[in-house]
């Protein structure tokens, strides 16, 4: 089995705090790899380093065999990295459709064209409408994003990430803020994506993690303490103590 992502000895400090401490991890092509861990363990920090928003202090990142450790964020996107944000990060003044359309356009190229007509680029809008289809948001494509509810925005996050057609998708708590029904739908959506692309999933919703993940890595205080299947993780006393607790959820 080949790996799409390989991380070696990734390190990031904030002042005295070691947010990711010598993290090594790989994601196999086509798998859903979950990353769980207590709050402040460094999960989002890790994702931010992967996508280039934060520079690591040490360590290497390989995407599909290429060393991307020192590559600028947008270039990594071009190589097939996509992400969602834990705290929604959208174009609030645009409509739902414009948001997705822009993501499609960004991937499609031609972004320096100053004299064409964006509304006339049929392929962009066809693809946009296609992406929106089937989601709850398809009913309200022309609503301004600022007017969406919290959960609705979270759903848009995923659609926009998919619009860039990533090979590896980094999902930072996609279920947070979703209702029960919506979480179920999201799980189905992600399941359907399995195989088409690879996913690194950060999530605190254990139902979702156990339902989806092929493998799970556990990050505590910046360090990976174990990687294994759902059952192995569930059964590990360290994980129970540091993370899962006794909640009967």
């Amino acid at each position: 089995m080949t790996e799409i992502l390989r991380i070696e000895g990734l390190q990031k400090r904030f002042g005295g705090l070691v947010a990711t401490d010598n993290v090594s991890l790989d994601v196999h092509t086509g798998e859903i790899h979950a990353l769980i861990g207590p709050n402040g363990a460094g999960k989002s920090t890790l994702i931010n380093q992967l996508c280039g928003e934060l520079r690591q202090d040490a360590g290497m990142i390989h995407l599909a065999g290429r060393d991307i450790s020192h590559m600028a964020a947008p270039d990594r996107v071009d190589l097939g990295l996509g992400r969602t944000f834990q705290m929604t990060c959208l174009l609030e003044d645009f409509t739902v459709r414009e948001n997705v359309g822009l993501a499609v356009q960004a991937r499609d190229g031609g972004n320096f064209r100053v004299f064409d007509r964006i509304m006339g680029r049929a392929s962009v809008w066809e693809e946009t409408d296609h992406l929106l289809q089937g989601s709850l948001l398809s009913e309200r494509p022309d609503d301004i994003v600022a007017d969406l509810s919290h959960g609705e925005k979270k759903q848009l996050e995923l659609i926009m990430a998919l619009a860039t057609q990533p090979r590896l998708l980094l999902l930072d708590e996609p279920m947070a803020g979703l209702g029960h029904v919506e979480s179920q739908q999201m799980i189905e959506t992600l399941k359907a994506l399995r195989g088409e692309l690879s996913i690194l999933l950060v999530e605190h919703d254990m139902d979702a993690v156990f339902a989806l993940a092929d493998r799970i890595s556990v990050l505590v205080y910046g360090q990976i303490i174990m990687t294994g299947t759902a059952d192995q993780v569930r059964g590990d006393p360290r994980v129970r103590e540091a993370y899962l607790g006794t909640e009967d959820a």
Binding site: F14, G37, P38, N39, G40, A41, K43, S44, T45, Q86, M87, T88, L136, D147, L148, S149, H150, G151, E152, Q155, E173, A176, G177, L178, G179, H180, V181, E182, S183, Q184, H204, M206, A242, Y243, L244, G245, T246, E247, D248, A249
Partner: protein, 233 residues
């Protein structure tokens, strides 16, 4: 404690709430449920005075607070943990906690910095970190701590466990249980219905801006089919 009657509200020309009525009595834990975008947060914002209601009555602790300013509602004793955390990013953790703290209602056993730190040791560790750089879950803890520090009569939690690790979530439920035992009134929005079933006195389900179902935890099980239709559980 809190009575909402026939509340209507919306943004701009779009009406979001059509008929919302609910009640939280002294010492009660009441939940508001519903799918995304059904109007839960809008209800909370209307109660807090952050959104001018269009019609209906809101009475809090004997005061008509329809259209009142948010600071007035808060001073009467409503404490809010808002959706999406909304911590003050340019203040340190400690400053976030003490800036708006107070014991306006002269509680005998008020929440203090030490107590919040005891509840969330992580906050003490990060006391001097800018809140904007906290992790998502840490910010959530801070938002809860900040609301507790205002020592409210009625605590309103809008998805307060979003993004929290299971252990911390459990911890929060413990606190909620304790608070309830101490007679604190709580209005709660959360998707962890299984836990809430056990804790709450009463549930309201919102659907497209209307309260469509009311009942106790036991009623939830009894009426499982309808409830499932509304919230998927």
């Amino acid at each position: 404690m809190l009575t909402v009657d026939g509340l209507q509200a919306g943004y701009g020309r779009a009406q979001v709430l059509f008929d919302v009525s609910l009640q939280v009595n002294d010492g009660e834990l009441v939940t508001l449920m519903g799918r995304n975008g059904m109007g839960k947060t809008t209800t909370v914002r209307s109660i807090m005075g952050l959104l001018g209601p269009r019609a209906g009555r809101i009475v809090f602790d004997g005061n008509d607070i329809h259209g009142a300013a948010p600071e007035k509602v808060a001073r009467l004793g409503a404490g809010l943990v808002p959706e999406g955390r909304q911590v003050f990013p340019t203040l340190t953790v400690r400053e976030n906690l003490i800036a708006t703290a107070g014991n306006r209602l002269k509680r005998s056993d008020p929440w203090t910095l030490d107590k919040v730190y005891a509840l969330f040791p992580r906050m003490q560790e990060r006391a001097n970190q800018m809140a904007g750089t906290l992790s998502g879950g840490e910010q959530q803890m801070l938002a809860v701590g900040r609301a507790l520090m205002t020592n409210p009569k009625l605590l309103i939690l809008d998805e307060a466990t979003e993004g929290l690790a299971p252990v911390i979530r459990t911890e929060i439920w413990h606190v909620v249980e304790q608070l309830k035992a101490q007679g604190q009134s709580i209005l709660l929005i959360d998707k962890n219905i299984n836990v809430l079933k056990r804790l709450a006195d009463r549930h309201y389900i919102l659907e497209k801006g209307n309260v469509v179902w009311t009942g106790s935890g036991a009623d939830l099980d009894r009426d499982a089919e309808r409830v499932h239709g509304y919230v998927g559980v």
